[in-house]
């Protein structure tokens, strides 16, 4: 078989992931380390299953980072982002500047002059969005102060790539800095204008164009078309950003934030999530495969020393800034550990620097290896932090716990189906300050509800990913209120299987539908018309002269008996003969049962109140 075929490559990568990630997880190392090790194993230095092409793969897989930022953006309300501005510019700016200056200072002391060390410092100041965010997210730490500070700094680094690219040529060894190709084409102000224009275009499209477009696509009811549209959106935004020389990840992030309030948010999340997961995995594998162990073998001391130095310097700067910005100690440490590695951008910037004679290859090549190794260290640093550092804080702490910031949707109730039925349920809950996350498949419907000011998300609740995105893992109660009977049962099964902790409350069309729920162990089912037909019946009785309270009681008694008999009958549903015999008996017994009920209420109990009642048999 041709080992260069696409299928073979796909097979190797997928197999590596499928085998190594579960093992890594089992050992408590997190998925990132698992992917990395898988990459090392299939890479040229161990099994040699993937060779030259792993670089291409890495390039392709970097798109996973873009998707990740899109997803992070989706979960971030613009208001939350606004609150982050201090960290974004203050903390982020100082981190980049501080790291660059620290490296420059070391270079000066080592007698390397100032230009080259400053360039290296700027390049190494970048951290790895992929490694840091994935590791934070996996541990549920993104919403903590340390996590959100890390995120803010990563965002700033993404932003700062553009000025750094502009600055590097001026640091060239030969003082006559040739202007770069990208910069030569257009003057600075025009470029700036283009960038602002592009961002505005993304924001405007997100606000005004995307919802109608998605609605149209949703109306076709072709699920794959929606997925295609979601991917198209992310790819399109990335392309636009690259066109104006901005980081694609940043553009995707902006697009995500703009769509954070959209009713399609959960559906988009559910659609993009698997792609992001796969691509990021691929990215981590390719980083693992690309680690140049050759260089490491020839100069082990130098490389190891540089990796340690890089991590130590970055860590020190981060820790200092973290404390300066008043992060609580455990958060400052988490923040420092998560950003102490080199980033994806370093690869780009290093090759850019070589091209512009800022750095000689003899310096750049070892640095590539150092950055890759430092990335590989990230999951290990997280482990160290978790196992040995944080427990120390835990012992002295015991104080206030920070609030969740990034996750806006921690509703205890999920309502699937927001038609006439679910709508009432949702409003009742809302009026009583119980938040619910609502999913509905009818695009038009969602639109109307949104206009009425309700938060309804478009999507097919029978999709597992969508349930995840809607927060099923954290919710307590799941309300099935969709009108498609088969789907409702299917959904109940899905929820029972994947979220056994959720208590299900289901809308049942009629008796048979109710039996289906009961046979699956869903005991809280509600026949959709029972309540209103009883209300109507009671009102008719009252209109005919029955005292209102008596009609009310009669309807309630009817309901009680009927529900009880329904639950008994459900047990016999499979057995045709027994079912109909019981049904006949029940119907006969039913009315006399109701009559006795009514007769007994406030009936004989008045007899004993007069010890010698007239007409009493004993007295004659």
């Amino acid at each position: 078989m041709h080992t260069d075929s696409m299928l073979f490559h796909a097979f190797v990568y997928l197999a590596a992931a499928v085998v190594s990630v579960p093992i890594a997880k089992r050992l408590g190392m997190g998925s990132v380390l698992g992917y990395l090790l898988a990459g090392v194993v299939i890479g040229p230095h161990v099994l040699g299953l993937v060779g030259q092409r792993s670089g291409d793969v890495m390039h392709f897989a970097e798109f996973g980072v873009v998707m990740m930022l899109f997803l992070v953006g989706l979960e971030l309300q613009p208001s939350v982002l606004w609150r982050m501005r201090g960290h974004l510019f203050g903390l982020g700016g100082l981190q980049v500047a501080g790291t660059a200056l620290a490296v420059m200072a070391i270079g000066l002391i080592a007698g390397l002059g100032s230009r080259m060390p400053l360039a290296i410092g700027l390049i190494l100041a970048m951290s790895s969005t992929a490694f840091a965010l994935q590791s934070l997210q996996e541990r549920g730490k993104l919403a903590t102060p340390g996590g959100s500070a890390s995120f803010a700094v990563l965002l700033f680094q993404d932003l700062s790539v553009i000025p750094v690219l502009a600055l590097l040529p001026f640091l060239a060894q030969t003082a006559v800095a040739a202007p770069s190709e990208t910069q030569a084409a257009q003057p600075g102000w025009l470029h700036a204008l283009l960038v602002i224009g592009a961002v505005c275009a993304v924001v405007a499209a997100g606000r005004y164009l995307l919802n109608p477009v998605f609605r149209l696509i949703a109306k076709t009811e072709l699920r794959e078309l929606f997925t295609a549209a979601a991917l198209l959106l992310v790819v399109g935004v990335s392309l636009l950003m690259q066109l104006v020389g901005l980081s694609a990840a940043l553009g995707a992030f902006v697009a995500g934030v703009v769509l954070a309030n959209s009713e399609y948010r959960h559906e988009l999340e559910a659609d993009i999530e698997p792609f992001k997961g796969l691509l990021l995995g691929l990215f981590f594998i390719s980083v693992g495969a690309a680690i140049d162990f050759g260089l490491f073998r020839s100069q082990p001391g130098l490389i190891a020393g540089l990796v340690v130095a890089l991590v130590v310097v970055k860590f020190a700067v981060l820790l200092l800034l973290g404390r300066l910005f008043r992060l609580p100690a455990p958060d400052a440490v988490l923040f420092s550990f998560s950003l102490a590695q080199g980033g994806e951008f370093a690869f780009v910037l290093l090759s850019f620097a070589v091209n512009h004679q800022v750095l000689p290859t003899s310096v750049a090549d070892p640095l590539v290896a150092v950055v890759a190794l430092s990335m590989a260290l990230t999951p290990l640093l997280f482990l160290v932090n978790e196992r040995w550092v944080q427990p120390r804080f835990a012992r002295v702490r015991g104080e206030q716990r920070p609030q969740d910031e990034v996750h806006s949707e921690d509703n205890p109730v999920i309502i699937a189906g927001f038609g006439r039925f679910g709508h009432v349920v949702g409003r009742l809950l809302r009026a009583n300050h119980v938040g619910s996350t609502v999913l509905d498949l009818d695009a038009q419907h969602v639109d109307v509800m949104r206009r009425l000011g309700m938060k309804v998300f478009y999507g097919d609740a029978t999709r597992l990913e969508l349930l995840h995105a809607a927060g099923a893992a954290k919710a307590k109660i799941f309300v099935i209120a969709i009108d498609n009977e088969e789907k409702a049962v299917e959904l109940a099964e899905l929820v029972q299987k994947h979220f056994p902790h959720l208590k299900i409350y289901a809308r049942a069309a009629g008796r048979v539908h109710a039996y289906e729920f009961q046979s699956r162990g869903v005991m809280s089912f509600y026949r959709e018309t029972l309540g209103s037909s009883l209300d109507l019946g009671a009102d008719v009785l009252t209109a005919l002269g029955m005292p209102a309270h008596q009609s009310h009681r009669a309807a309630l008694a009817f309901k009680r008996h009927d529900e009880a008999s329904l639950r008994e009958l459900a047990k016999l549903w499979e057995d045709d003969g027994a079912y109909f015999t019981k049904l006949r008996q029940d119907i006969e017994a039913f009315e006399s049962m109701l009559e006795t009920d009514a007769a007994r209420t406030y009936g004989d109990s008045d007899r004993g109140w007069d010890p010698i009642p007239a007409g009493d048999e004993s007295r004659g």
């Binding site: 005292p547 209102a548 309270h549 009609s551």
Partner: protein, 202 residues
């Protein structure tokens, strides 16, 4: 004395089985100038509209609770009515002065005979003693508590004539309340209002 606005709040959970109260209530409805409300008919599911009940109270001077005696007290809905409508800040407590000066009256039918409500009878306590929770409720709200209108031995009344007489008495007492002839001054010393109607000039 100018005419008093009388409100009869009637509570019987099973009027379809009532012999006496139903007749009494019909009699009340026939007295001009008396407002009547059948609570169980108005709130079959116990969802009392507190605001409108309070407004209704403000429009009247004499409040009559008409009900059968159930376990030495009122049926559940009338208790619910008290629990909800007599709010803090409205009926009692700080600034709770809205009912001040009004009169409260129980119009009750009992299964037991008059003799049964005495130390020597099997209910041991007198009606006035058993009704002290209502009396104190009135006091707390700054209302005047009138002696109750009581029809004893309601279960025993097989002859319509007896029921009719009780209904007639009831109508006369309500009219007397409306006209200001039945007050603490005129009736305060009575055990029950309907003990001696002629003494009240009715």
């Amino acid at each position: 004395m100018q005419s008093q606005r009388v409100l009869v709040l009637f509570a019987h959970p099973a009027v379809q089985k009532s012999r006496v109260n139903r007749r009494l209530f019909a009699a009340a409805q026939s007295v001009p100038g008396v407002t009547t409300l059948d609570l169980y008919q108005e709130y079959p599911d116990f969802q009392i509209d507190v605001r409108s009940e309070q407004a209704r109270l403000l429009e009247h001077d004499v409040i009559v609770f008409q009900h059968p005696f159930y376990w030495y007290s009122s049926p559940a809905l009338l208790k619910e009515w008290q629990d909800l409508v007599l709010e803090y800040g409205f009926a009692y407590g700080r600034n709770g002065t809205r009912l001040r000066g009004k009169a409260l009256l129980n119009a009750i039918t009992t299964g037991g005979s008059e003799e049964a409500y005495a130390r020597t009878g099997h209910n041991y306590f007198t009606m006035r003693e058993l009704l002290t929770p209502f009396e104190q409720t009135a006091r707390l709200c700054g209302m005047v508590y009138l002696p109750p209108f009581v029809v004893h031995g309601a279960i025993r009344m097989t002859h319509t004539a007896e029921v009719e007489r009780a209904a007639d008495d009831y109508a006369r007492v309500l009219a007397g309340l409306r006209d200001g002839r039945v007050t603490t001054e005129t009736a305060g010393s009575f055990d029950r209002l309907n003990a001696d109607l002629t003494a009240l000039g009715l």
